[in-house]
């Protein structure tokens, strides 16, 4: 036998020995499991990054978002509009240097179509502390069908570098429970 530094002479295309063959087969089998899990989760799982995807003009997206804000606005916080969209509706979230607009008030167990886009550079939608992350790209509308499954006061941080005040880009999402009455009124921010 020779080392990997030596040039093998003659024909080296030889059958593998048992242990090596066995490991290749096991590894291949595991790779197939890894592959199968993704389509399977699309069929059976509740978390997929599919969404509705369109190209969109950033200015048109901004206009749509501000119209959405005007229609469903219920208040204001830290200079940012608070919006409570009706169940099942299209919700627009806009990333810009360096804020998320608007603050969203959602209901637990209700489905929404959450649209994400940016008017300037890339941003990162990161819902904390849930740890739900999506890329926000200018010129593209990412429409994700979401169902909040827990009540709480959540933060939206930006996790794609977007300039010097990247760390100040923090938004807010409030999720209330219908069955528990009108709890979780805005408040608690800085």
């Amino acid at each position: 036998m020779h080392t990997g530094m030596e040039a093998p002479r003659g024909i080296w295309w030889k059958p593998a020995h048992k242990a090596e063959k066995m490991w290749v087969l096991i590894a291949f089998g595991w790779c197939m499991v890894l592959f199968a899990m993704m389509p399977l989760w699309h069929l059976k799982g509740a978390q997929n990054p599919s969404g509705i995807r369109y190209r969109v003009d950033p200015n048109a997206y901004a206009r749509r978002t501000y119209e959405f804000i005007r229609t469903y606005k219920i208040g204001e916080e830290a200079g940012i509009a608070v919006v409570e969209p009706p169940p099942g509706s299209d919700v627009y979230l806009l990333g810009r240097m360096w804020a998320w607009e608007p603050v969203l008030k959602l209901h637990k167990g209700v489905a929404y179509t959450l649209h994400l886009s940016s008017v300037d550079v890339n941003h990162g939608f990161s819902l904390s502390p849930v740890n739900l992350n999506f890329q926000v790209v200018p010129g593209y509308d990412y429409g994700l069908r979401i169902v909040p499954t827990e009540v709480g006061d959540f933060r939206l941080i930006c996790n794609e570098f977007c300039g010097i005040q990247h760390h100040m880009m923090v938004g807010r999402v409030i999720v209330v429970d219908d069955s528990a009455g009108a709890a979780g009124a805005p408040g608690g921010g800085r």
């Binding site: 036998m1 080392t3 990997g4 530094m5 030596e6 040039a7 093998p8 002479r9 003659g10 080296w12 295309w13 030889k14 593998a16 020995h17 242990a19 090596e20 490991w23 290749v24 590894a27 197939m32 890894l34 899990m37 993704m38 509740a46 978390q47 997929n48 990054p49 995807r53 830290a78 200079g79 940012i80 886009s117 550079v121 890339n122 990162g124 990161s126 740890n131 992350n133 999506f134 790209v137 593209y140 509308d141 994700l144 069908r145 979401i146 909040p148 499954t149 933060r155 941080i157 996790n159 794609e160 570098f161 300039g163 010097i164 005040q165 990247h166 760390h167 100040m168 923090v170 921010g189």
Partner: protein, 574 residues
């Protein structure tokens, strides 16, 4: 050997018997020195970044943090690693094949072009004209010279790859070796092919972006991300192929590891070439511009065939070491071959830690986070740099460090300085990087973002509270990182001192080298004994490795499914 046609002089290496061409040697030296300089720059940047992310210290202001983070990424991932890989290419072609370098003048031109490009990029970064991070996502804008510098560097690297292929042709024509190229050279060939694919993506994105920075055309942000990652991720796959080649090389040099089966190992390398560039998709899994079918197919490298390749090497490398040791008489029990290995040879310890950190930490996390849906709970959090510091630093850089302890005596023909420090260097670096990567990955599971100056979000309109464990975990990450930095510092000290002030061992015979007694790795002082000729009995030759890979597979399965469980409890999204 018909080296008579070769104009450049050769010397015969007393330790390995290889014929070393003077031009090849000089090119290896130049590229290795350049690599070390950029490692130093990137390493200083690493410590500054670490001491800022550790909120207790929070060293740099925001603008300098992002600037230094850009410097860290470019210096390490592009300049250090590619310069080192250029050295590897010259070694794997000219030295291992006893050949001259095809076109030495062009090779030197390429070296200086790469240097010019790298200096331009560093200049732009340090003067604050390119605060765009490693990825420079359009429409973040840097100075045009930043993009031009990257282009020049990439063109230089591409020329070196061309010289490498030319040298293979020269060696074949001039019959400087008999049979097929060695496995290590074969692996380097795959790295070079991947480099062509990678640099092609680099040209396809940096040239339009250069024009965009001059205001001549538009670049779509999503298309930028897709093509750029054809460079950004694929360049890390050059590292994988180069690193695995070095695993085989270090195995051969330190303990005389054997190649169990050329067909299996070479086919695994070919799988890298065929599928590994698809990994650009790993960065686009939660992007708006691409369909689920595209994501699933590409992120899995066409049904995980490149993962299969790594799992094959993960078996054949330790199995080759085990078989080599057993054939030399270390046959007791399951692990005598490993217990009685040369653990005080930094080449050997670096090899073992590189395999373990790359496989267990880097590989498992990479495949898991690169799963389309699981990426939802990983994208742009600290889990991602946690993963790639295990692959690129704990895996690739550590393997490069290990081979350096052989390059210093074999190519630079110097005794390794500060030998006691050199012996513990891989241990410090490996332990530090392990702690660092695990803590970083763990912090990311709480949603702590990567590339972030201030995770206390001072001045933001709403306060953010992470899990209270985060502070502790980030503190552990900082300690691990600092330990790794000490290991990296020792590496640079040992390398620079040996090369510039070290004791020359040129012309010394094997006995005279042994008489030195220190400053040389065990693989040179007491080269592995020859193996008795003939086809050995394969039964039980790799049973220790089978135990090791079984442990690996169980860890893999556990981590993978735990992550599906974590995903299943977050908000419904589709």
């Amino acid at each position: 050997m018909t080296a008579s046609t070769a104009p450049a002089p050769f010397r015969v290496c007393p330790a390995t018997g290889l014929k070393v061409n003077g031009q090849a040697e000089a090119l290896i030296k130049a590229n290795a020195v350049a690599a070390t300089i950029f490692l130093l720059i990137g390493g200083v940047a690493a410590v500054l970044v670490l001491l800022t992310r550790w909120q207790v210290v929070h060293l740099l202001p925001a603008d300098w943090f992002y600037r230094i983070l850009t410097v860290h990424g470019m210096s390490m991932l592009i300049f250090f690693i590619l310069f080192f890989e250029m050295a590897v290419l010259y070694f794997a072609s000219a030295v291992l094949l006893n050949s001259r370098v095809a076109t030495p003048r062009l090779a030197w031109g390429a070296f200086w072009l790469m240097t010019l490009g790298a200096v331009m990029v560093e200049w732009m970064m340090w003067t604050g004209k390119a605060d765009v991070l490693f990825t420079s996502y359009v429409p973040l804008r840097a100075h045009p010279l930043f993009y031009l510098g990257v282009i020049l560097f990439a063109v230089g690297a591409l020329v070196v790859v061309g010289v490498f292929f030319g040298t293979l042709v020269v060696a074949k024509r001039e019959r400087t070796y008999e049979g097929s190229v060695p496995l290590v050279t074969f692996g380097a060939i795959t790295a070079a092919i991947i480099a062509v694919i990678t640099l092609g993506h680099g040209a396809a994105i940096y040239i339009p972006t250069f024009f965009w920075s001059l205001g001549w055309m538009n670049v779509d942000p999503q298309i930028y991300r897709m093509v750029w990652w054809g460079l950004g991720h694929a360049s890390q796959q050059i590292n994988v192929a180069a690193m695995v080649s070095i695993w085989y090389l270090l195995g051969a040099l330190t303990v005389g590891a054997v190649v169990l089966n050329e067909k299996i190992s070479r086919t695994a390398f070919v799988l890298y070439v065929l599928f590994i560039s698809m990994a650009a998709a790993h960065h686009l899994l939660v992007d708006p511009g691409l369909s689920p079918a595209w994501k699933v197919w590409n992120t899995s490298y066409a049904m995980y065939l490149a993962v299969l390749a790594s799992m094959v090497h993960g078996f054949t490398v330790p199995a080759g070491i085990e078989a080599g040791q057993r054939l030399r008489g270390l046959t007791k029990g399951v692990f005598e071959w490993l217990r009685r290995a040369p653990w005080s040879d930094p080449g050997f310890s670096a090899l073992v830690f590189s395999v373990i950190i790359f496989g267990f930490l880097g590989g498992i996390t990479g495949v898991t986070f690169g799963t389309e849906q699981i990426n939802i709970i990983a994208h742009n959090t600290l889990r991602i740099p946690g993963h790639f510091h295990a692959t690129v630093v704990g895996g690739t850089a550590l393997a490069f460090m290990g081979i350096t302890y052989y390059v210093i005596p074999l190519i630079f023909r110097k005794q390794v300085a500060f030998w006691p420090l050199a012996k513990i260097q891989p241990y410090l670096f490996a332990i530090g990087m392990t702690v660092f990567s695990i803590a970083m990955t763990f912090a990311g599971t709480f949603g702590v973002p990567r590339r972030h100056w201030d995770t206390t979000f001072s001045g933001a309109p709403f306060d953010v509270q992470f899990n209270p464990a985060v502070d502790l975990v980030v503190g552990i990450m900082a300690l691990g990182g600092l330990l790794a930095a000490v290991g990296g510092g020792i590496y640079i000290l040992v390398t620079v001192w040996s090369v510039f002030f070290g004791k020359s061992i040129a012309g010394l015979s094997g006995d005279q080298l042994r008489a030195l007694g220190t400053g040389l790795p065990a693989g040179i002082l007491t080269p592995p004994r020859p193996i008795p000729p003939g086809e050995p009995e394969h039964r039980g030759l790799t049973r220790g490795t089978l135990v090791l890979v079984a442990v690996f597979l169980l860890a893999f399965i556990a981590y993978y499914f735990v992550n599906w469980k974590l995903l299943s409890v977050v908000w419904k999204v589709g």
